[in-house]
């Protein structure tokens, strides 16, 4: 899985490209984990525009990230979910744990 990392208005944006399953989720988990002390104080946005599929392994990474960011008082959101991915979030009740924005500009505006 390729993950594009950019920074915009003080927000680190990670954009995974492809299927987020038990085989690829550890790659995203590692990438999120690597946003360590260097990026302290930054907000984190997961841009899911290129994630066409998510399984429970992907949901686990998102939940873990929500918990870690909350514990460290750092903000976190997910944006640009495709319909099927959004449905999996909703069925799992994860839409009540994680902030979901329809697009990147709205996500960036909400971080301020």
């Amino acid at each position: 899985m390729d993950i594009r990392k950019t920074e915009e208005q003080g927000v680190i944006i990670l954009a995974p490209d492809g299927r987020l399953d038990s085989n690829s989720a550890p790659i995203l988990e590692q990438e999120i984990g690597s946003i360590g002390s260097d990026d302290e104080g930054h907000h984190l946005l997961l841009d899911f525009s290129k994630v066409e599929y998510i399984s429970s392994a992907g949901l686990r990474v998102v939940l873990k990230t929500v918990k870690e960011r909350q514990a460290a008082s750092k903000s976190f959101a997910v944006s640009n979910m495709q319909d099927h991915v959004r449905e999996v979030f909703e069925i799992s009740g994860f839409d009540s744990y994680v902030t979901i924005h329809p697009d990147t500009p709205q996500a960036l505006a909400n971080f301020k």
């Binding site: 299927r19 399953d21 399984s55 429970s56 918990k67 909350q70 099927h84």
Partner: protein, 138 residues
């Protein structure tokens, strides 16, 4: 409509999930199934396969997981078998989706999603094999 049937096997590695997805897409095209059905079946089978590989047969590298997918009239029936240790997904408890974030365990969702995206799940242990039968209305 006559029954159509396809069988395939995956080796017990999570990297096989990509092949599972490709095979299901091909079956979907061949049988003219809606994309949404294929996505939902993919998720259900992904979760089952991930469980089998992660907990059932991880110490037995030569084991394969066998799939038989059949379409009859208005439903798809999928039989998944493996020779790993006994694992009955129908007995796994559902996660409590009403828990607060702090109480929500990181995991336990896979079998729940498999249930959500299929209509029936049956399990039997036969000749040292786990045999799970999933059905989904189309």
């Amino acid at each position: 409509m006559a029954t159509q049937k396809i069988t395939f096997s995956l080796s017990n590695s999570l990297s096989e999930l990509e092949r599972l997805s490709e095979l299901l897409s091909l079956i979907g095209e061949k049988w003219s199934l809606p994309g949404k059905i294929i996505l939902q079946l993919n998720l259900a089978l992904d979760e089952l396969f991930t469980n089998v590989v992660s907990y059932g047969i991880e110490r037995e590298p030569d084991q394969e997981v066998h799939f038989t997918i059949a379409q009859r009239e208005d439903e798809i029936e999928i039989v998944v078998s493996d020779g790993g240790q006994s694992f009955d997904p129908t007995q796994a408890p559902d996660p409590d989706l009403n828990l607060s974030l702090d109480d929500q365990p990181v995991g336990g969702l896979g079998i729940f999603l498999m249930r959500q995206y299929t209509d029936n799940i049956e399990y039997r242990r036969e000749n040292g094999k786990n045999i799970v039968t999933l059905t989904k209305k189309i």
